[in-house]
Every structure is written in structure tokens, then in C-alpha cells.
């Protein structure tokens, strides 16, 4: 199962120039692809296009081909696509349905929309809550949760839909370190279970830990891409508006200070 974007470009309705150009990207089973770039590089737009929301909901024009398992999804309606590709946004408040009076109903909202059998909805909802360690919130009012808790609830809502591909636009933007670790662990576990994930993140330390490859966007184009270690250690990263991971900065500082980098690498691995 591979989500593939081939030569994809996208222009918002009314925009004078495209926001994405010549994007080639493949998300095979079990891969975690990190997406980084400066502000307005096109990260969120790429998430919208990859998930199918653009142009189906957002409008605008897409060029190129988006396929699932080599099948062009151009004619698929959004509700069909949403059963295969899940998307999470950075603002937790807008991801909540606003009609659920409990977290349990909020997480179950997606599977209920899809007409999944009731017992499967219930079991899947508990499992999704459990995977993020938030079963205790099941009976709480989603509107009364903190931003971080709401983000975890929104994530659980995506997991409950059992997507094959997941697009996450800065899922940890409002999370504390513990919440970030939970989301990171959930992403890694999902990937181990075969889900492919495209995740936009400012926290390159997190990407260094969970991503199998990283794509750097600049002005709507792919500026760098490749294995995580190589891309996140690329000296051009800072010029592209991306913060290097702490480990990379540490290595660089150690090298310039004449520290034994072999011993440092061993310590970092430990």
C-alpha cells in the first residue's frame, strides 16, 4: 500500500502562483516521512493535497498524479478517501466535532460516520484511547480539556478510523514533552504496524527519532530529501529555515572544539 505523489503541483483558488511545484513523494507501508521547511514553504498545503482535502474541500487546482496502490484517486469522493488516509491538524480546537459531549463520543465520531458496526466502534475507540494513554479522559467533556489533551483526543480520533496512511500537520505543536513522547511513540508503533505517515514537524529532534526519511520544502518545491540522518545533518538545513536537531548541533560543536567525536557518537547512541 503506497501513497504516491508524482509531479504534483497545486495552486489555491484565486492565487497568482502555485504553492506547490513538482512534488514527487512516496509513502510506502510502514514509512514515516518527516516534512520540514520554513514558514510558507508549503508544508500544510502538501498535507492538504496528500490527504485529498485539496482540492476536494479547499478548492484550487492540482496538477500531476496522486495514487493509492497505483490507482489514481482523482475521482474519489472525500468520504471514500478518508477511509484510507487520515489527516490531523495543528489546532486541536478545530479538529473536534463540537457535537460530542464526551471524549469517547469524540473519538468514536469518525467510525460512527463511516457506519462501522457498533461493537467495533466501541472496541476501536477504547483501543485508540489506550494507545495514547488517555482512557481516563473517556467520560470528560472535550471542550473542557487542555490544548495538549485535545490534540491527543484528535489523534485518537484518527487512530480509531484505522487509516492506512496518516498525514499529520504539526501534531505536537501544542503538546508538552510528555505528550510529544506519547505521540512520537504512537507514530512509531503505527509505522511498525504498517501505516505510512507523513508528518510535518518543527521539532527535528522528534523527527530524528521517528522518521525514516525527511523532505525539506522551500518555496513549494522539494529542496532536500533522503534518509533522516543525512538530511538532518545537511549543512544547508539552517539556510532553508529548519532548526538542526540537538544531536547534530552537539556533534558540530564537539568537532569544532576538538572533542573526540567517536566517543561522543558512542555516548549519543547509548
Amino acid at each position: 500500500m503506497t501513497l504516491r505523489l508524482s509531479g504534483v503541483g497545486y495552486r489555491y483558488a484565486g492565487a497568482t502562483r502555485p504553492s506547490l511545484l513538482d512534488i514527487d513523494l512516496a509513502l510506502p507501508n510502514g514509512s514515516v516521512v518527516g516534512l520540514v521547511g520554513a514558514s510558507e514553504a508549503g508544508k500544510t498545503t502538501l498535507c492538504l493535497v496528500a490527504s485529498g482535502l485539496a482540492p476536494r474541500v479547499v478548492g484550487g487546482q492540482v496538477r500531476g498524479t496522486i495514487s493509492l496502490d497505483d490507482e489514481d484517486v482523482d475521482a474519489w469522493p472525500m468520504h471514500r478517501l478518508s477511509q484510507r488516509i487520515g489527516i490531523g491538524f495543528q489546532n486541536p480546537a478545530t479538529q473536534l466535532s463540537q457535537v460530542a459531549s464526551t471524549v469517547f463520543e469524540e473519538v468514536a465520531f469518525g467510525p460512527m460516520n463511516l457506519g462501522v458496526d457498533r461493537s467495533d466502534v466501541v472496541d476501536g475507540t477504547w483501543a485508540a484511547l489506550g494507545s495514547l494513554g488517555i482512557e481516563d479522559l473517556a467520560g470528560r467533556d472535550p471542550a473542557r480539556l487542555s490544548g495538549g489533551q485535545q490534540q491527543l483526543v484528535a489523534m485518537a480520533g484518527l487512530l480509531a478510523m484505522h487509516p492506512e496512511h496518516l498525514v499529520l500537520d504539526e501534531p505536537t505543536a501544542q503538546l508538552d514533552p510528555a505528550g510529544t513522547r506519547l505521540v512520537g511513540a504512537a507514530i512509531s508503533q503505527l509505522a511498525a504496524d504498517g501505516v505510512s505517515i507523513l508528518v510535518t514537524e518543527q521539532k527535528t529532534d522528534l523527527l530524528a527519532a521517528i522518521a525514516s526519511s525527511v523532505v525539506v520544502l522551500a518555496e513549494g518545491r522539494i529542496a532536500l530529501s533522503g534518509p533522516t540522518d543525512e538530511v538532518l545533518a545537511d549543512p544547508r538545513l539552517a539556510d532553508l529555515g529548519v532548526a538542526e536537531p540537538a544531536a547534530v548541533r552537539l556533534r558540530r560543536a564537539a568537532t569544532s572544539a576538538g572533542v573526540d567525536t567517536a566517543r561522543l557518537e558512542a555516548a549519543l547512541r547509548d
Binding site: 500500500m1 492538504l48 490527504s51 482535502l53 474541500v57 479547499v58 469522493p77 472525500m78 468520504h79 478518508s82 477511509q83 487520515g86 489527516i87 491538524f89 489546532n91 478545530t94 479538529q95 473536534l96 466535532s97 463540537q98 457535537v99 459531549s101 464526551t102 469517547f104 463520543e105 468514536a108 465520531f109 469518525g110 467510525p111 460512527m112 460516520n113 463511516l114 457506519g115 458496526d117 457498533r118 461493537s119 466502534v121 466501541v122 472496541d123 476501536g124 477504547w126 483501543a127 485508540a128 484511547l129 489506550g130 494507545s131 482512557e135 467520560g139 471542550a143 484528535a154 487512530l159 480509531a160 484505522h162 492506512e164 504512537a186 508503533q189 503505527l190 504496524d193 504498517g194 501505516v195
Partner: protein, 280 residues
């Protein structure tokens, strides 16, 4: 197509999960027999009471309705005090203006009770104003009783169970739920603006001037969120045609169905009797 996803596989439900059912708080029965009536029964009672108060007219009919369909059920449900306060707040602006206008400007009023400058309160105006007041109290009381004893989500789930489209049900529910969300947002924006020096206290003019920087962001912020909220809904299969799965639905009984039909038929008979002139 393999759709298994072990992370969310039911077999991996943590041992400390509350269980495989839905949490107790969902669909928890209300505290009184009136609370536990089916939401549609309570909605029918509220609607027929409000319409009947208008159709009946006069002072006696609406007053009996207020007693029988509002006060007594509210007392049974244990919400009488809250109902009186809320219904009064809800009805006060319109009740006060309607009462004063009819009291002082009732056309054809001859028996003067009180004269204030060029206007006079008349006995005929007072009688008509009391009739209007009785209708307003019946309507506001019926609506308030429904609101105090029914969770919006319960009504929506019940309507969906009866075949109302999920989109219509969502619109009803979201409309009700949006009000507290906007009130909360207004509170946050007020606090933020005050922290930046906005003066929302003092003279009326200062308060009015202070409203603009609060109302603008509340409305614009809500509009700005619509697109992202729409996308989130679409990504969760909201536009899928067909019935949704329901986790639970409020109880109903044949006795309640008979009661609902009886209320509707009684209202229909009242309207027909009134329109045909058979009953004045």
C-alpha cells in the same frame, strides 16, 4: 485489502481500560421521571404548550397552561426555581416592552388608571397586557423547561434514530453547542484585550467602545475556523452518505408515543376549533 492495525486492535486494549462498553456518563438517565421522558416527548410538550398559548389567547387559557404544562412538571423535575429565574430572564425584555406599550398605548382604552404626562395607563390596556404577558410566560416557560431537562445531544441522537439526516442533526447540535463555545471565546478575548489596556468598565460610552475590539475578533475568529473545522469533519467521513452508527439512544415507550400524538391532536383540534369559529 488488509485493514488490520495492531495499535488499535481491540485485543490490545490495556488491562486497566474501563471495559468494552461505552462510559457510564454517556446516555446516563436523568435524575427525575420527567428528565427520563424521551426528548421528543418533552419537545412535543414544549412546542404544543407554546403554540396552544398563542391559539388560546385570553388570560385564563395560557395561565392554566403555565400551571399545568410548565410549573407542575418543573416542580416534579426539581427545576422549578431555576426555571422561574431563567424564564424571567429570557422573557423580561420582550415582556416588559410588550406590557408597557399595551398598558399605555392600547387603542380604544377608556378607563384611565394612571396618567403620566401625555400618556395614560388604561384598564383595558392592563387587561390586554396581562394576556400578552401570560402568553409570553407560557412560551418562555415551556422552552426553558425543555432546556433544563433535556441535553441537546439526547434530542439529536433520538432524531437521528428516527431517520432525521445526520447532517440536519449535526446542524441542530452544533448550533446549540456553538453558543457556549463563543461565550468562552469572548471571555478569553475580553481578558486578552483588557490585559492590553482595553477599558471595559466605567461609563456606558466606555463600555460600548470596549465591545468593538471584542466582538470583531469573536466573529472573525469563528469564521476563520470554519474552513479548518470543515476539513476536519470531511477527513472524518462526515460527508459519507447513509446512516451513521449510533452508540446509544434515549428510551421510548408506546405510552409516550400515545401521549405525543394526543398532544399533537389536541393542538390540531384547538386550532381547527379556533379557525372555524366553533370555539371562541
Amino acid at each position: 485489502m488488509a485493514r488490520s492495525l495492531r495499535l488499535t486492535d481491540p485485543a490490545r486494549i490495556p488491562a486497566n481500560s474501563p471495559g468494552r462498553g461505552i462510559p457510564d456518563v454517556i446516555g446516563r438517565p436523568g435524575p427525575s421521571p420527567f428528565h427520563r421522558l424521551n426528548p421528543l416527548t418533552k419537545a412535543t410538550l414544549a412546542t404544543t404548550t407554546a403554540v396552544a398559548a398563542v391559539v388560546l389567547g385570553g388570560l385564563v387559557g395560557p395561565s392554566i397552561l403555565v400551571g399545568a404544562a410548565v410549573i407542575v412538571p418543573a416542580a416534579m423535575a426539581g427545576v422549578l426555581r431555576r426555571l422561574l429565574v431563567m424564564a424571567a430572564i429570557l422573557a423580561l425584555p420582550i415582556a416588559l416592552s410588550a406590557f408597557l406599550i399595551n398598558l399605555f398605548f392600547f387603542p380604544g382604552g377608556e378607563t384611565v388608571l394612571l396618567r403620566i404626562g401625555p400618556v395614560a395607563a388604561t384598564a383595558e390596556g392592563l387587561g390586554f397586557a396581562m394576556e400578552i404577558l401570560a402568553r409570553i410566560l407560557a412560551i418562555s416557560g415551556a422552552i426553558t423547561l425543555f432546556y433544563l431537562t433535556t441535553r441537546p445531544a439526547d434530542l439529536v441522537v433520538d432524531l437521528e434514530r428516527r431517520g432525521v439526516s445526520p447532517r440536519a442533526a449535526f446542524v441542530i447540535n452544533a448550533s446549540v453547542q456553538t453558543v457556549p463555545a463563543m461565550v468562552e471565546r469572548a471571555g478569553q478575548i475580553t481578558a486578552a484585550q483588557r490585559a492590553r489596556g482595553l477599558d471595559t468598565e466605567g461609563s456606558i460610552w466606555r463600555r460600548v467602545r470596549g465591545i468593538v475590539p471584542i466582538v470583531g475578533p469573536v466573529i472573525l475568529g469563528s469564521i476563520a475556523e470554519v474552513e479548518e473545522r470543515t476539513m476536519a469533519l470531511e477527513a472524518r467521513g462526515f460527508s459519507r452518505p447513509g446512516r451513521r452508527t449510533l452508540l446509544w439512544s434515549p428510551g421510548d415507550s408506546s405510552r409516550e408515543a400515545v401521549l405525543r400524538w394526543a398532544m399533537v391532536l389536541a393542538l390540531a383540534a384547538l386550532i381547527v376549533g379556533r379557525m372555524s369559529g366553533a370555539w371562541q
